[in-house]
Symmetry: C2
């Protein structure tokens, strides 16, 4: 089980980025996203319904409770942490992983609550980018094989859009 | 030369995500970001000053002009495109690459203007995540070796924050 916990979300200001965090978690092989914003949970549920799961969306405003109750490794993604490739070697092959991504400045205690503080480059960039790279490395790229089963499915296309309907794969929209 | 072109930016709504696109481009080895928003250009310039370049920020509202004038490969990142690993094999080893990322729905003509339409998974996720993975794959992870030289430098730390000042590496802030 891989879960992603989004903390420090500010309503309004962080809405779009938190949505990106959720969609990125889903695309790159996480099984669950834990957020504090009901509205974003609805948006993510609609995507999971339309394009498929399994992907669980949990609303929980108390992030500390989530970490305290977690039985497994807690990875905090931060530009101040140890390099991702070093950290990956410390993560047990088996067991659950909770990946924590903050918005803006995170509470100092998180650095001690986490099992590992992990950086994807020691430069300011994006928690969305850091999450994508971390999950890509963690799953060794196997997220690409994840089968989603929803109402719609997108098929790769060199020069346009191909969307098919499940089940039966009837083409619903194709544009060049 | 790797440049990133952000298109379709909507003032207000996309500010934070476009900033993330710029910071992600910088962290993962792009040499230049081209955006249409002066305010975000200023934010990115401040980061590049503080944490180092080389990284060029260009303001240009006419995205079509940028693509038309580009001498090299134009890669459009889209969930409808061909798989990233297939596409990478079609990109010449030498020559400049322009990576185009849209906000929301992009104009249909972009699919034809681009040399390659590339997907990082055929699921809705995030242009920030797609950009990070694409640049990581394109540079074969070598972005990590990029030397930034600014006023401040962050050193990896397992359990806190270590920030040093350039030149001379005087420690300016460390918190556990």
């Amino acid at each position: 089980m891989i879960a992603v916990l989004r903390i420090g979300h500010r309503q309004g200001r962080d809405e779009r980025v938190t949505t990106h965090v959720g969609l990125t978690a889903r695309n790159f092989g996480a099984d669950r996203i834990i957020i504090s914003d009901e509205k974003i949970a609805c948006t993510l549920e609609k995507v999971a319904e339309k394009f498929g799961g399994p992907f669980e969306i949990v609303c929980e405003p108390d992030w500390k409770k989530v970490i305290r109750k977690w039985r497994g490794t807690v990875v905090h993604l931060t530009m101040y942490g140890e390099p991702v490739d070093d950290a990956l070697m410390k993560i047990p092959d088996k067991g659950d992983i909770l990946v924590v991504v903050g918005a803006g400045k995170v509470p100092g205690e998180l650095y001690n609550l986490a099992t590992l503080n992990v950086s994807v480059g020691n430069q300011p960039h994006s928690e969305v980018a850091a999450l994508a790279i971390f999950l890509d490395r963690l799953t060794e790229g196997r997220w690409i094989d994840k089968k989603f089963r929803g109402e719609l499915k997108i098929l790769p296309n060199e020069r346009g859009k191909t969307v098919v309907k499940n089940p039966g794969q009837k083409r619903v929209r194709k544009t060049a």
